[in-house]
Amino acid sequence: MALRFPSLAFFEALQREMRAERERFARLGFFDTIFGIRVLPESPGAAAEFVLGFEVFDCVRVAEGLAGVETDFVAEGSFSAWREMLDNIHALGAADAAHSFNTLTHFGERLSVRYDDPDRHDKVYRFAESIQEFLDLSARFDFDYPDGSRPPARRQLRRTAT
């Protein structure tokens, strides 16, 4: 059975992929943050929420739900916004210029970063490359969406100049 986005199993798969790439993440350096992922439904209903905890070079915590969890920030967006990012990563192997996590969240147009503490918020940027490479790992496994559709098959990574 394919993994589904959004689901705990999806983020556990990312955790496994990260562990398989320990050397790559060790090269990027200490990665110490706890952040949330919130996927807002397109129609009325509850958001899907997950917490991801990173320590040293590892993803040490993946859990469902953000209630009562202290996070540095929460990355939030509609299901379609998350899907657009994941489709792009899956098709190209890594986010292109229009779909990097920073680009999508910078003005909060597609995804946004919610935070209470600007110091902890800055961890988005202290660990920017680690977060991007973690999300890019979703290109490595098959998954589907709640309607049964799948992200596009892998194409050659294109290099764009916008």
Binding site: A26, L28, G29, F30, D32, E55, V56, F57, D58, A94, A95, D96, A97, S100, N102, T103, H106, F107, G108, E109, S112, D117, P118, D119, D122, K123, Y125, R126, F127, A128, E129, Q132, L157, R159, T160, A161, T162
Partner: protein
């Protein structure tokens, strides 16, 4: 040679005799008998390795370090026995609250593990294959020229202060050594990217250089840190994030993600330092405001100069056509508002919430808002 030894050791008979005795095997060994605090530090987290925090024990640690360093005036490592006759090196900064930051030891460890290489970590071959349209290439080269100019001074400032801090503040000295390395790498990468665009370096900025001179010539480390780490780098951090947003290729995006990581660490130190100052040296509050008054004036002059702002407008609008410029102005305005908003958020978090009311930067915000309303009153505006 401004400093000469007061002793000519080759002619000092007592010194020469003692050396001869030692080399004949007649050891003196007084250094072995000095009463010391024996410790055997171990990593608290094996996966992280042995960190400075693991060494925070007794007289070796930073927790018990006093506010005023009256004992150690030399290069002696903190916790070492201080024999009579050590020179007074006249460090300029001897108060802990002038340099210390919460978690400075953590920022240092993070910096050491997150170093990267401008020569090998950027996909230069892919960047070479991407030809930028002329107006985009020139605007990008001008932005890179500005950033090269900025980062050179950001290297000089921490390097200038490193040797002026009391040796007991070695965690801070080490941290600003990593900062100097980070900023040197930023100078390197922006220069390399500028010279690989096909356009080379464009025009230096006189307005910007007045701001850089202000940063370099701060009268104290506390002033330098406030203006550099918190104010200038805080604004540059938002600028790097915006530069990632408007970057023309994936390789350029990676470049800006890597520099923003370093910059965010420096801002983190600046925030935690200001918090420490306000917690431990509250009488400095008014001085901080006075320094920010001046720093903000320079930022307005330097950060909003023509050769700095226009490349942002062209890059974010993706060209020089009228509608592209209008779009570029709209996005650049939103960036500037975000930059100022984040600056005040950080100051408030550090314990300076009243800065928002006192600052003249709001005049700039008003100018931006008027400009945005005039250009595109009916179009959506990115959240600032």
């Amino acid at each position: 040679m401004s400093y000469l030894s007061t002793t000519d050791f080759a002619e000092d008979q007592k010194f020469v005799d003692r050396f001869r005795q030692t080399m004949r095997g007649d050891l003196e060994l007084s250094w072995m008998d000095v009463a010391r605090e024996p410790v055997s530090c171990r990593p608290q987290n094996e996966r992280r390795g042995l960190t400075f925090r693991d060494l925070d024990v007794g007289s070796y640690g930073f927790t018990e370090m006093p506010e005023r360093i009256r004992q150690n005036r030399s290069f002696a490592p903190r916790g070492a026995a201080l024999p009579p006759g050590l020179p007074d090196l006249q460090a300029e900064v001897n108060r802990k609250s002038e340099v210390w930051a919460y978690n400075v030891e953590g920022y240092y460890e993070e910096a050491m593990t997150r170093q990267w290489n401008a020569t090998t970590d950027i996909p230069w071959d892919e960047l070479q294959q991407t030809e930028l349209p002329e107006e985009i290439g020139k605007a990008y080269a001008q932005l890179l020229t500005f950033l090269t100019e900025v980062e050179m001074i950001a290297t000089d400032v921490p390097a200038k202060w490193m040797g002026r801090l009391n040796a007991d503040f070695f965690e801070v000295k080490n941290f600003i050594a990593t900062q100097a390395m980070d900023e040197a790498r930023h100078t390197e990468i922006f220069r390399k990217r500028a010279l690989s665009t096909g356009y080379g370096l464009m025009r230096a900025s006189a307005h910007n250089e007045f701001n850089l001179k202000f940063l370099r010539d701060a009268d104290s480390f506390a002033e330098a840190s406030l203006a550099l780490h918190l104010q200038a780098e805080g604004m540059v951090l938002t600028l790097f994030r915006f530069s990632e947003y408007i970057s023309p290729t994936e390789g350029d995006k990676k470049l800006f993600r890597l520099v923003m990581q370093d910059e965010a660490r420096h801002v983190g130190y600046g925030m935690q330092h200001l918090k420490w100052v306000l917690d431990h040296f509250p009488e400095r509050r008014e001085l901080i405001h006075h320094h920010l008054d001046e720093a903000e004036n320079f930022v307005f002059g330097g950060g909003y100069a023509t050769e700095v702002v226009e490349p942002f407008i062209i890059l974010s609008g993706k060209g020089l056509k009228k509608e592209q410029i209008a779009e570029g102005v709209r996005i650049t305005n939103a960036f500037q508002l975000k930059q100022i908003e984040e600056y005040f958020e950080r100051l408030a978090k550090c314990g300076l919430p009243e800065r928002r009311e006192r600052s003249r930067l709001w005049r700039l915000v008003d100018l931006n808002r008027q400009a945005m309303a005039a250009i595109a009153p009916s179009t959506s505006v990115p959240h600032a």
